[in-house]
Amino acid sequence: MTLALAVDIGLALLILAMAAWTIAVRDTFASVIGFVTYGLLLTLVWVRLALPDVALTEAAMGGGLTGALLIGAAARLRRTEATVRERPGVFTRTLAAVLSATVTAALSFCVLNLPDPAPTLAPGAAAKLGSTGVGNPVTAVLLAYRSMDTLLEAIVVLIALFGVWSLAHDRFWGGCPQLRTHADSEGILAYFARILPPIGIIVGVYIFWIGADFPGGKFQGATILAAMWLLVIGAGLAHFPPVSQAWLRILLVAGPLVFMAIGFAGIVTAGAVFAYPDGFAKPLILAIEIALMPTLVLALALLVAGAPQRMPPQ
């Protein structure tokens, strides 16, 4: 018991130190590495709190995918960074410090003043679990009780992707995104990219499928599948399709469209938006998940890929 407490205290101190270092360090790239490490430590915290669902999401999205996005951004910013070295004035810095301190104080106040025991919907959620047909309460919340939130999440990812695409140069509009690679089709990375994806795809689909009853789900599975696609492309074994391709765009919008169609059909079949008719909850949830999966895989991978940078060869 005391040993576990010592580990927890060490973890808490480490994560605070990592957070402080991520903010304090001057170099953008170092700061990003700090953030990724921070995400991995946070994953351990979620595991210690016995929340494997959140831990998986943090490892896949918070540490992995966000890390990849930030490393790409840092690499792009490096050229401009060398020239800009001016620091904000004392007034700005004081203002920023006061603002941060106020937010921290307000958050601490809220957290420390939570009623004990905290109000919870968990017993109610667990009691109705049977009617959703899924065994994992987290999945039930995401796709039955609060499915509207999940729909909006998927749409946010799509809108972010359109935002990235809109940064494309006029000449390359509708062209292919490109990863910065030093592709050598006989090199070690190509070897790695041939060995890992078969296993990675199985793991990704497994995590997606197991999400119905155990920790896992489409976001985590989609991140793994997207990573496999990016690995193959990064090794120079494949290329991104032009973003103007019809199949690509159809798959991208198919997930939210199916989700919305099933959600609004609920008005007729079950009497409320996003309600499922009795006995059909599980198949409908599965249909939504299967439609969302390609959307998320493509959107997440293309987010990392960035704006289109070249036209497809004719």
Binding site: I188, L189, Y191, F192, I195, L196, I199
Partner: protein, 98 residues
């Protein structure tokens, strides 16, 4: 038998932890990228290998055991690949001058 396995676990995990410690010291103390990589990959391969080996008697055969071994093999594969890539970049004079 149970005690013997527990003792094996304790010694093996401690040996693994020692390799991680040595690897970290090496990472911090060695003078150039290639030797630092050497220290780091030693820690990953041997340290994690010994930790996994030590934990094997404590797992449920077969699924957990196989999962644990698979984790070690994946770490080996990823570590070897990334180590090679970083070493190549370092030899070409990549990375930022300090």
């Amino acid at each position: 038998m149970k005690i013997a396995l527990d003792i094996f676990t304790i010694f093996s995990v401690m040996a693994g932890a020692f390799f991680f410690l040595a690897g970290t010291v090496g990472l911090l103390r060695f003078p150039d990228p290639l030797t630092r990589l050497h220290a780091l990959t030693k820690a990953d391969n041997l340290g994690l290998g010994l930790v996994v080996l030590g934990l094997l008697p404590q797992t449920h055969w077969p699924l957990d055991t196989i999962k644990l071994i698979a984790i070690w093999l994946f770490a080996l594969l990823a570590g070897a690949t990334v180590g090679q890539l970083m070493a190549c970049t370092a030899r070409r004079g990549g990375g930022q001058p300090k």
